[in-house]
């Protein structure tokens, strides 16, 4: 900023810059909403790309099982190890399975799984579609009279909508198992006893909203990943940027949805 400007002029420039950034943000948000609108319009129209949907489910679901499982295991084990001393002080060791199950099922499991999906799946989709855009593969599909949005975006987003809830359930179960093993470092408990104790603390209001929100997590992971790739500019640098911004934006969206879900659940209880 030139030093000759008076404070009013400097402030005016700053406001203009901020307004410009704000405008860009709202333009991008509006564009994303339009992109989502196109998804809902195309998802209902036949022909359905079953083969591609199944393939994407395989990539999103099966190919993520190890990472999600490992993370879930560590999550459950660490949670147990770190809460045990506090619980022991109150003589509430027997409450650990219930506490683990409620915190994992209600909050930690869905959010951590969604964040891992943002990193693993959202970035892959951003980079894949970005690369396809840069190398004109999307245009090639378009001129071959194949609807690339339906083939690429709808299938991938549907796959994440379907797979993220399943991965979350899988992650929750592994986390409970991790908690069970961690508990057995100091105490002795059978697997059956641990799971019965864990499940007895879970209520419908713990499980149902948690599962419902994972569909929304899956939706934003797939949609934002595809959106960022779809809108990549012509250049290899933009592929990296698409992958990166897909992770950032979808992670942020996961937290926003989680906060809204918590508020809505709170109102319903």
């Amino acid at each position: 900023m030139p030093p000759s400007l008076n404070p009013y002029q400097k402030a005016k420039i700053r406001v203009t810059e901020k307004r410009s950034e704000l405008q860009k943000f709202f333009y991008a948000a509006g564009d994303l909403v339009a992109f989502a609108g196109r998804f809902f319009r195309d998802v209902l129209k036949p022909p359905y790309e079953w083969r591609e949907i199944l393939y994407q489910c395989f990539l999103v679901g099966y190919k993520s099982t190890f990472l999600i499982g490992l993370t879930g295991f560590i999550m459950g084990a660490v949670l147990t190890i770190q809460t045990r001393p506090s619980m022991a002080q109150f003589g509430a060791i027997s409450m650990i399975p219930g506490m683990i199950s409620v915190s994992v099922v209600r909050e930690i499991g869905p959010v951590i799984t969604a964040l891992i999906c943002c990193g693993k799946i959202g970035s892959r989709m951003g980079a894949e579609l970005g690369s396809m855009k840069v190398t004109e593969q999307i245009d090639a599909m378009e001129v071959s009279a194949i609807n690339p949005f339906r083939y690429l975006v709808v299938t991938r987003t549907l796959a994440t909508i379907l797979m993220v809830p399943l991965l979350t359930i899988y992650s929750d179960l592994i986390a409970l198992f991790g908690g069970y093993l961690a508990m057995n470092i100091h105490d002795t408990s059978t697997l059956r006893h641990f799971f019965v104790a864990a499940m007895s603390h879970l209520e419908f209001i713990d499980v149902f909203p948690a599962i419902i929100k994972t569909f929304f997590f899956g939706f934003v992971v797939g949609l934002i990943g595809c959106y960022k790739g779809w809108n990549a500019r012509r250049g290899t640098e933009s592929v990296g940027m698409a992958a990166n911004s897909a992770v950032v934006a979808s992670s942020l969206a996961v937290f926003v949805i989680d906060m809204l879900a918590a508020q809505i659940t709170d109102l319903l209880v």
Partner: protein, 277 residues
């Protein structure tokens, strides 16, 4: 304003014969005389990106069985021109008629019906890199020839690969192919739906001279075999010489010259001559 080179160049009596009357150039002349029915007509096409006006009122037509080469320097709007013809870009003004249909009035599904009849070979071939060569060729068939049996599809794929001389590459991924091979596979994939019109976006760019010549020859061969009309965007003069029935020259978004290769070569306009020498 189009300069009709036929009118402007001095065509003195006893002017030199066209250079190197190759088999290809004889054939292309014959093809040019086949019929005069236009398959593509563009009138007053204008296109701007923000403040930058790329096309400033382009008029052209392509006759059936003809290969029209569009010459111009980088940034002259050549690629935008052919992208407008298949709905990848939307013109700001003007009319584009492809195979008798005004594309600005077509709905998405109607445009897709037309797109099946128009092939587009991209500069970098744009092969789907997650699919093998077989899958790349099978993909358009799977989408548009749903009633075709698996055996028939396989036969069509093999025929196309034989056309481009790459039967052995059927199970390879695009990343394993050379630039020339990618172009050939791209051509095979585009031709597999038997388009009536082909649009070539710089088909020989990035290839060595020998491979570029092979691709040009292949374009002529395919044109003759399937009776395809085409537009070729290029600044490769060897390709233009070999394949063009007619050439238009685009300068800053305007068609400035039109004629055969031989006619344009004799032009006295400095800018036009810069392409030929």
């Amino acid at each position: 304003m189009t300069e009709k080179v036929n009118d402007t160049i001095e065509n003195e009596a006893g002017a030199e014969e066209p250079q190197e009357p190759t088999v290809a150039s004889e054939e292309k002349r014959a093809a040019g005389n086949e019929t005069q029915e236009p398959v593509i007509t563009i009138h007053g096409l204008k296109k701007a990106f923000k403040d930058h006006e790329v096309l400033k009122g382009v008029d052209l037509d392509v006759r059936k069985g003809e290969n029209l080469v569009v010459l111009g320097k980088s940034g002259s709007g050549k690629s935008v021109l052919i992208k407008c013809m298949v709905g990848l870009e939307y013109p700001d003004e003007g009319a584009i008629s492809v195979l008798g249909q005004d594309i600005s009035t077509l709905k998405y599904d109607e445009l897709n019906v037309l797109r099946v009849r128009v092939g587009f070979l991209f500069q970098n071939s744009a092969l789907y890199d997650s699919m093998t060569v077989r899958e790349n060729l099978a993909f358009p068939l799977r989408k548009h020839k749903k009633t075709m049996t698996r055996e028939k599809k396989e036969a069509v794929i093999m025929e196309m690969l034989e056309n481009v001389g790459l039967e052995d590459s059927i199970d390879q991924l695009p990343s394993k192919l050379s630039g020339g091979q990618s172009k050939r596979i791209g051509l095979a994939r585009t031709l597999i739906l038997r388009p009536e019109i082909m649009l070539y976006d710089e088909p020989t760019t990035g290839l060595d001279t020998g491979t570029a010549h092979e691709i040009s020859e292949l374009m002529i061969k395919m044109k003759q075999k399937y009776n395809i009309s085409s537009i070729t965007i290029t600044h490769d003069m060897a390709c233009a010489k070999l394949t063009a029935d007619r050439i238009i020259m685009l300068k800053e978004g305007v068609v400035v010259a039109e004629g055969t290769y031989e006619e344009l070569e004799k032009s006295k306009d400095e800018w036009i001559r810069s392409f030929f020498h």
